[in-house]
Symmetry: C2
Subunit: 307 residues, 2 copies
Amino acid sequence: MKDSIKVFSPATVANVGSGFDILGFALNNRGDIIEAKMNNEKCIRIFNQSGTDLPLNPLKNVAGVAVQSMLTDLKTGQGFDITFHQKISPGSGIGSSAASSAGSVFAINELLDNPYTLKELVRFAMQGEKAASGVAHADNVAPALLGGFTLIRSYNPLDVIQLPSPKNLLCTIAHPDIIVRTEDSRRILTKEILLKDAVIQWGNVAGLVSGLYTNDFELIGRSLQDVIIEPIRALLIPGFDKIKKTVLEAGALGCSISGSGPSIFALSNSEGVAQIVEQTMKKIFNGMDIEVDIFTSTINRQGQKII
Amino acid sequence: MKDSIKVFSPATVANVGSGFDILGFALNNRGDIIEAKMNNEKCIRIFNQSGTDLPLNPLKNVAGVAVQSMLTDLKTGQGFDITFHQKISPGSGIGSSAASSAGSVFAINELLDNPYTLKELVRFAMQGEKAASGVAHADNVAPALLGGFTLIRSYNPLDVIQLPSPKNLLCTIAHPDIIVRTEDSRRILTKEILLKDAVIQWGNVAGLVSGLYTNDFELIGRSLQDVIIEPIRALLIPGFDKIKKTVLEAGALGCSISGSGPSIFALSNSEGVAQIVEQTMKKIFNGMDIEVDIFTSTINRQGQKII
């Protein structure tokens, strides 16, 4: 049995346009690097070498909360040291808290010789999400653990389905340097929606799932349409409407808000288009004097990677 | 060029649990038999040999309305005689008006040497639905024309997607002898719904589509859950809750209301279960002194059939 392990835990895009709270996919080019080690202290200790500010109190750190829920379920008093070597910027909207929660429970599950399946780990990682945003959503932690596109068919009981991930699908992310708290971006949503909008939304969700199974990029693109969440959350992201319009004109398959924002994602199926999308996003944010981190990634089909 | 044609136009189950207004599938064991013939009258004439009461005025008959919208689009003055030889009971909830609209536009498109594709015909058949219920929904006419399971991803623009139809899937229909008008069953729906219910619903829609692609009968079954429409419409169908509970206990994969009701459908994947489902439905309706027509059908993958 190993007593130490290091993992890469990927960034993720939740919602994917139409699939608020149920759909997500994992990325290759951003993620946390987390090391876990058994200790003799009978408690969880958090260490931070990532250069990003993180709570070291395990009751306030999402990884600590997620791991503690797993250890409690296992009824073990074994303690662990969790060290962050690399950290996705918190508040970016690409699953920073999910990567930490998913990566730590995965790593410690490995150290304990895998008492849980990957799908079973989703439940524990969700506790980290609850600590981060008040809601135990699974649309980031599921793809972070399982890789590719995932569907949360149901939260009660939890039912996680792996969807296919078409090759040659590229995702460009623009993370503008503005602050949107997940909690706030949930709070501005209305509790009630129009049935006629919901019909549009579930038509698009069904179209997106169909497009993933049939490798139909055009269908995937036109199914990214979100008539319920995006119009509200877009208000929190300066330039969103202009960026979306411009990248679609430039050939992107679709464009929407990543998770609760402020990151914007756009899908494309060629390097050439992805490059134009990057330049377009950069130009528009720069024109508003907003710093922006932009990158393009293939879809991460593996999920957690031991390094 | 033929000047006369006879077609079988199938009954259909719309909504399919979670997919209100967007999902539907076609049946083999019930349908309209419609004959179309060119005439020299420059107008549409409706004839009825079905034994079921039908409006003969082409402006009031759904087939007349659907065909007229097609002929107007074609800018042709050619007239047609449409004769009903067999008719699904109107008001049954298994796509009676859709079968008539779809069958007539299909038959006349054939007589005119197919100026339209099957998907293009959906738009004209929808005009028949509008005449029948006030709403130009497509979730019955699309599967009636294309066969199998179909998705209306979007109404505006119209985007019809064919989904796979797993073999060995059986559908049992119970049509109780009570009257539920499509118009009424639309009117009792609330215009606003809770976002949290919508999330449950689109999770199930996504699960259903995934289950169809992967032949996962269990997933199909548990995705039939409808938390928005069914709880309201079930109020119009005596015994619905008891029937649903009993057939699920008997092994049915799922059970819900077919279209706007009053028919109830249950899916299963074995003849044995389907037989028990039939007996259960019969017993419960008989116990309430309600006449009921019950049958089990395979999924119709062909759609319209020239006979």
